[in-house]
């Protein structure tokens, strides 16, 4: 498998190819750069509304309760100049769900995400380049096994606290490394739901003396994605 395969027909894709949840566009930001609050360097910020387009998609439009809804997110640098964008990861991305009447459906995270904002949190996108990310939304929070999984994770935390077992070893021995997605939508009603993702950022990248590359700040929302959830 490790043999290098050369296929000329697709070389054009190769330079940019990344998995669906990775970076598509250009350069990662170097650790030698730094970040600061946009209020301290307002001239280095540019509002998302003037810099980007955000899209949300999923591989299908109908899911069943207990199924994982893959939410794929793409952010396009819609300007003609390079701009720093926060990667589509961590607490920067918020998933919102609304029912057919527009009422908010509670979205419960599987874990609390905190982020220390560092230069590597950002990607420099050239004009017309895209960065992509994803979130996994479990359809319903009552899936068989989820409650037991949460309880088992809680027990592990307690056992680690009492020094009965190491955290990693406990995760391994008890099979708690299983992926239950990022969030679940707390609903039991079949029907249509509108899903929106919001991306927020309030820091700018300081990219060296004299550099004037701006960072997209404030909040941008995707157009709603309609999903049907059935029994």
């Amino acid at each position: 498998m490790r043999t290098l395969i050369k296929v000329a027909a697709v070389l054009a894709l190769a330079a940019n190819y990344h998995s669906a949840a990775g970076r598509v566009g250009t350069q990662n930001v170097s650790a030698s750069q730094s970040v600061t609050d946009v209020r301290e360097r307002p001239l280095l910020g540019i509002d998302y509304s003037g810099a980007a387009r955000l899209k949300l998609a999923s591989r299908k439009d109908s899911y069943r309760f207990g199924e994982m809804i893959g939410l794929d997110i793409a952010l396009l640098n819609a300007t003609d100049t390079p701009i720093f964008f926060h990667k589509l990861s961590g607490p920067t991305v918020v998933v919102k769900v609304f029912d057919e009447k527009g009422a908010v459906v509670k979205v419960i995270p599987g874990s609390v995400r905190l982020e220390g904002v560092v230069p590597q949190s950002y990607v420099l996108l050239g004009a017309g380049e895209v960065t992509v990310g994803s979130r996994q939304l479990l359809a319903g929070c009552n899936a068989a096994g989820l409650a037991a999984f949460d309880e088992a994770r809680q027990r592990l935390n307690e056992d680690v606290g009492r020094q009965k077992i190491g955290y990693d070893q406990g995760m391994f021995e008890r099979g708690l490394f299983v992926n239950w997605g990022d969030v679940c939508a707390q609903t039991t009603r079949p029907g249509s739901y509108d899903i929106v993702v919001e991306v927020s950022n309030r820091h700018v990248v300081l990219s060296g003396r004299g550099a004037k590359v701006k960072t997209a700040v404030s909040t941008i929302s995707s157009p709603p994605l309609r999903i049907t959830i059935s029994e």
């Binding site: 395969i5 190769a14 899209k55 895209v130 992509v132 099979g175």
Partner: protein
């Protein structure tokens, strides 16, 4: 069913993006100044998986329906009392085999073939009893509505990019081709029980000036089979 295999040449240096599933955890993954070398040229830095690791394969459900994405989660434990380098359990070092109830192999068809040289970034330094997590997403069935046209449209984009008719990133965005269909599809139409096994293979060792005597897990290790039921 038409099946399109798009072969994409990717060096793993490009592969730093996080996967849909499988954010590796555990270990120090500083890779500055680290290099990789074939274990045959530096045998003293290799140690066989069988002496060092335990591997587990799991999934959140034991039953899926055709068209669902089966998330296969893999954990590798450093079962020694020494620090060791390990290739993350995802990407080209990971292969998935599936057999049906009669023990007959069922084809796992990847959408893209990743090939190339590995990079130090894909290796973690694991402490004793520490784990690293990876995974694989398998679509139940290759006849799922939408996947064929998705792959067709990916190929069409590749052609348009090659012909100068489209820019790759903008094409992905405008044509909704950033959607994740998993890593591969399981080529079956028969409901029933399937046994899934993950195999990790590595023949590279990390040469690290800061950790000159730390060995790397090499060879091949297989998980115990995981039984999954696929229903209509």
């Amino acid at each position: 069913m038409r099946y399109l295999l798009m072969v994409v040449v990717v060096t793993l240096l490009c592969g730093g993006g996080a996967r849909a599933v499988g954010q590796a955890k555990g270990g120090d993954n500083r890779s500055e100044r680290r290099t990789l070398i074939d274990v045959r040229k530096k045998a003293d830095l290799g140690i066989d998986y069988s002496q060092t690791a335990k591997v587990k394969l799991a999934s959140r459900q034991s039953s899926y329906r055709f068209g669902e994405l089966i998330s296969l989660d893999l954990a590798l434990l450093n079962a020694t009392d020494k620090r060791l380098f390990v290739d993350k359990p995802s990407g080209i070092g990971l292969s998935i085999e599936v057999v049906d109830e009669n023990g007959k192999e069922v084809s796992v068809n990847p959408y893209t073939v990743l090939a190339g040289s590995p990079s130090p970034e894909s290796y973690s330094l694991l402490e004793p009893n520490q784990i690293t997590i990876g995974g694989f997403i398998l679509l139940a069935g290759c006849n799922t509505e939408g996947v064929g046209s998705f792959l067709d449209r990916r190929v069409e984009l590749a052609r348009d990019v090659s012909a100068g008719r489209a820019e790759y990133d903008r094409g992905l965005f405008e044509r909704d081709l950033f959607v994740n269909w998993g890593d591969a599809c399981l080529r079956t139409t028969h409901p029933g029980k399937y046994s899934v096994t993950a195999t990790l293979t590595n023949r590279w060792v990390v040469v690290s000036p800061a950790e000159p005597k730390v060995k790397t897990m090499v060879g091949t290790i297989r998980s115990t089979p995981l039984t999954i039921t696929i229903a209509e």
